[in-house]
């Protein structure tokens, strides 16, 4: 774990976003859904954070909460979300609105349903710009066309006058990115930005986000269920399982020395060109219900290395070196041995 000893890669100065013990619980007729249950992490300026986990692991809800998009009478929010010195959880709606779109931009999974079908792409970008900056329509329109050019949409002036349904999937997602970056935010949250796209287009979109991140000096959160996707683009990775962080660390730490059996499972289920189909090892079992979370470690029913303690005592997220942390009862030496001898062999 040589990289860990050099500290967190990509981290400079104070964190841009500091989340501490965030809990998001929903009251439903079936019981309390603990969608996010005590999550803490930091994002630094200019850094790319990958957030990986299965559907329902709480990764999207965490960042929708950061955006203030989970505010309803059925949702109970606890903890701290400090962005640039302000706690977003207690910020009044109106002030939070001024941060949204201006300082924090968000790109969603399905650009087809995430763009309004009745307004042109240009109109939708202009609207976002003018919600935060007073400027004539013409000027905002020119900026929107510029942004479309920046994200690599050919004939941007013409395309700005078209409706979302006239765009291809990849172009729509580019337009979404243009919209999210139009006001040069400090933080861009991309919630599974490539899941709805063709494989060939996926890498183009990720390359684009990576390029714009440098160009706009924006910190990026890349939410995905595919550990393979984040390797190339992320500085730091949070692996989420059952509404908590199971493991977090620099990308190198995770790829070359993951400490959590769930991360091992994810690594082993990445398809590789050179390997046979039989070599793919899916993680057995289903993710737990967020209403009735298993006692002890929530991963224990699916864990091949389960011990007695795992069934009763919940493991804390612990980090031997202050950067690479995992929530697992296995001894560090044991984790390193299993990773070396079993995971690396198969993955």
């Amino acid at each position: 774990m040589s990289s860990s000893t050099h500290g967190r890669s990509g981290a400079v100065g104070e964190p841009l976003l500091r989340v501490r013990d965030l809990k998001v619980h929903f009251d439903t007729p079936d019981g309390v859904v603990k969608a996010v249950n005590g999550v803490s992490f930091d994002i630094y300026q200019g850094e790319t954070l990958g957030v990986v986990g299965e559907s329902g692991s709480g990764k999207s809800v965490t960042f929708l909460t950061v955006m203030g998009l989970i505010r309803s009478k059925d949702a109970r929010l606890e903890g701290e979300v400090i962005f640039d010195g302000q706690d977003l959880l207690t910020l009044p709606d109106e002030e939070l609105r001024h941060l949204r779109g201006k300082r924090i931009g968000m790109v969603f999974q399905d650009a087809m349903t995430s763009l309004h079908p009745f307004y042109t792409v240009g109109q939708q970008i202009v609207e976002g710009i003018r919600a935060h900056e007073k400027m004539p329509k013409k000027e905002a329109w020119d900026r929107a066309v510029d942004m479309l050019q920046t994200v690599g949409i050919p004939k941007p002036a013409e395309r700005a006058r078209q409706y979302p349904h006239e765009f291809s999937g990849g172009m729509r997602q580019r337009a979404m990115i243009a919209m999210a970056l139009a006001l040069n935010p400090d933080l861009l949250i991309a919630d599974e930005p490539t899941t709805a796209l063709d494989v060939t287009v996926q890498s183009q979109i990720l390359e684009l986000i990576d390029r714009l991140k440098q160009e706009f000096r924006t910190a990026v959160v890349l939410i995905t269920h595919d550990l393979g996707v984040v390797a190339e683009y992320c500085d730091h990775i949070n692996v989420m399982y059952a509404a908590k962080i199971a493991e977090s660390g620099n990308t190198r730490d995770i790829y070359y020395g993951a400490h959590h059996p769930y991360t091992w499972g994810l690594l082993q289920s990445i398809p590789r060109l050179e390997s046979e189909v039989q070599d793919l090892k899916p993680i057995k079992g289903q993710p737990p219900s967020l209403i009735f979370v298993p006692p002890g470690c929530s991963f224990h029913p699916r864990c091949p290395y389960v011990m007695d303690i795992c069934r009763t005592k919940e493991p804390e997220l612990q980090s031997p070196d202050g950067v690479h942390a995992s929530a697992c009862h296995l001894a560090l030496s044991e984790k390193e041995r299993i990773f070396r001898e079993e995971v690396l062999q198969r993955a």
Partner: protein
């Protein structure tokens, strides 16, 4: 857009053919009795029957009869264009009466439509935005009342309260706006409200459920993520898509009403198409019934054309569909 319009126009043409064909079959082919006897009214004599047969061309084979029927309708008959024929019972051409009554029905329908749109859409929005709260419950209670209360009962109650008890509104009947604008208004206000209430209740429910559904759409989340004000999110983004289906429903409802609001017109003694056709049915005045049926059918068709064209402007996806 041009191709879309042409397609819609061709579709309307087909509808007109179907409407006229079906009415023709119902009125001239299906009855087991000789249609010329039916058309001659209650107490036909042989001379009148012969006259009917002659003027409607009923001695010809059925397809020719249909073409003659179309020709009278669209080219005109001896009483002008469009040819709505002659009532042998009242011994008068139908067209002038029909148009006069259509004007009354149109005023009733238009006033009611404005009311129910304002009430229905307004209540629906308030209800959806206050989901589960007192305002929502009150609004949906009103909607339930509006949907369940029979129009004739509502009309009679309204008359009893505002005319008999409070004496703030004049009684029933029709006053032309050119004769006395204030009396015209006073005579129409109750029928408008009574007719509008039923529709307002339906529309409120529909707008509420549409809006609630739209508010869950991904693009509403995007609008919020852009930092738009809640007012803009609701009025520019959510309402825009949730009201579009209301437009098409409105076209059908309004078009249907143009054929006469029978109960409202009867309760308030308005000389519209509804009371006209009811009287014609009572008297067995077949030519009048036929004329009103065709008129109402064309009214619905034309309204649906108008709505389709409007829809193409409202929903950009339609043009290419």
């Amino acid at each position: 857009m041009g191709r879309y319009l042409i397609r819609r126009l061709l579709w309307v043409l087909l509808l007109v053919v179907l409407i006229t064909l079906f009415t023709f079959i119902i009125f001239f082919v299906m009855p087991p009795t000789d249609p010329s006897i039916l058309f001659a009214g209650r107490a036909p004599n042989p001379r009148l029957i012969a006259q009917v047969k002659e003027s409607l061309g009923l001695d010809q084979p059925a397809p020719i009869q249909y073409l003659l029927f179309l020709k009278r309708l669209f080219v005109g008959d001896e009483y002008g264009w469009p040819g709505f024929g002659f009532s042998f019972l009242t011994r008068s051409p139908i067209k002038p009466v029909l148009l006069e009554r259509a004007v009354v029905t149109f005023q009733l329908a238009l006033g009611a439509a404005v009311l129910w749109l304002v009430l229905g859409v307004g209540i629906g929005i308030i209800s959806a935005l206050n989901r589960g709260k007192i305002a929502d419950r009150a609004a949906m209670g009103f909607a339930l009342l509006g949907v369940s209360a029979p129009v004739f009962w509502l009309g009679l109650m309204a008359l009893w309260i505002f005319w008999q008890q409070l004496e703030i509104l004049p009684g029933t009947g029709y006053v032309a706006i050119s004769d006395d604008p204030s009396q015209w208004f006073m005579h129409f206000i109750l029928p408008w409200f009574v007719l509008a209430l039923l529709f307002a209740a339906f529309y409120a429910r529909m707008v509420r459920s549409n809006l609630l559904e739209t508010l869950n759409e991904d693009y509403i989340r995007t609008a919020r993520a852009k930092g738009l004000s809640e007012r803009k999110v609701i009025f520019r983004h959510a309402l825009r898509s949730s009201l579009t289906p209301v437009v098409s429903l409105f076209g059908v409802d309004f078009g249907t009403l143009l054929g006469g609001a029978i109960i409202t017109e009867t309760v308030f003694n308005l000389p519209g198409l509804g009371t006209y056709v009811v009287r014609a049915v009572g008297n067995g005045d077949l030519p009048v019934i036929l004329a009103v049926v065709v008129f109402a059918g064309l009214g619905v068709t034309i309204m649906s054309l108008v709505i389709d064209v409007l829809y193409a402007f409202l929903d950009p996806r339609v043009k290419y569909a």
